[in-house]
Subunit: 181 residues, 2 copies
DNA sequence: TCTGGATATTTTAGACTTCAAATATTGACA
DNA sequence: TGTCAATATTTGAAGTCTAAAATATCCAGA
């Protein structure tokens, strides 16, 4: 995943604590618009940087500790929440990746005996993909450590920070989904 | 990748005041720990989802509008901020990707005439990669629209929300970077 | 029943990405 | 000067990912 502009999202200069009080003079309209644009862009770059930093660390930990990859873990995590199994298409929608991609990852997991494709009784076009018992066992071990890694990375935020961020991200996600076609 | 330095596992001054000082009551401790774990994990998944939703949309827009990819745009964005050019290694550190990856993307951009590799006068091992005049022209067009897309996607958050999120992400980034080896 | 558009999945080609190995050069030090 | 670990980059193999085409099936309507 690309790490856009990782270095560019630094605060341009530390703004003193006294926050500028929404200047209403018309001349400032343009500068406020510009400011707002830059705020959005900087916010995006910061969001992306954090996301990438975390992903890099999780990926390396997954590789060194369990000799597996993030996509495989993600796929198994989706299945773990759906004990009755999922269709490939539903899986690809939930993972935000293309169907072809899911096919490849599922192939590997199936080959490793961690998932199975079962024919869908109601639709002969579709498979129902599920964790095997072994897959569930393996996933549980991974999930425990994965959670520990994540918790460690978010230690710098206290409970109130986390709640605030959760709330903000939740609102962002809602409007992102609305804008989808 | 990148960041050497500060190998402190714990954020030095940032211990939040409400830090639980080893609550001994077993039931409470466990439930709070569990809650906290849950919060961190959910926060991470939400962060990742937002980041992916935005990336998917930007990628598609880049493809349909400019027939290019996100990594190429990212690379050009880095160069645009470094008029004197960058070494491949510096580029890869800033983009948070491996050197081999940068090689491939740079090859394509060079082939398209958008960047050039110039020998570094001080170090014959290194190249200095720069935007060509054409590359700069093309990038500027892309950057304008890219910013417009981003601004549109963050429209659901008001200025105060953005400031709050920026601040939180900034703190998160700091401790993520500190934890790097 | 037949037809045709929609849906579920796989396949294919090509781009992105990592890690590790290979190559070339630097710089410090004996 | 010669050596050797460090640095800058590329290469190669394998996994991940997308878009688009191909295949198979479903289902609604004539």
């Amino acid at each position: 995943m690309s790490a856009r502009a990782a270095r560019s999202d630094r605060a341009p200069g530390r703004r003193p604590p006294g926050r500028r009080p929404l200047d209403r003079r018309p001349l400032d309209l343009e500068s406020r618009l510009t400011q707002d644009h830059h705020d959005s862009l900087r916010l995006w770059l910061r969001l992306l940087t954090c996301s990438n930093l975390i992903q890099v660390r999780v990926r390396k930990a997954m590789a060194s500790r369990f000799n597996t990859t993030l996509p495989r873990f993600d796929l198994m995590a989706q299945l773990e929440r759906a004990p009755e199994g999922l269709q490939m298409g539903e899986l690809s929608r939930r993972m935000l990746v293309t169907g072809g991609n899911v096919t490849g990852i599922a192939d590997q997991l199936e080959h490793a005996g961690l998932v199975v494709r079962a024919a869908d009784p109601h639709d002969r076009r579709a498979y129902r993909i599920k964790l095997t018992r072994e897959g569930r066992r393996v996933f549980e071990q991974m999930a425990i450590e994965h959670e520990r890694w994540i918790v460690g990375m978010f230690e710098g935020l206290n409970a109130r920070d986390k709640r605030a961020m959760n709330e903000l991200l939740s609102r962002l996600r809602v409007c992102l989904r609305q804008g989808e076609e």
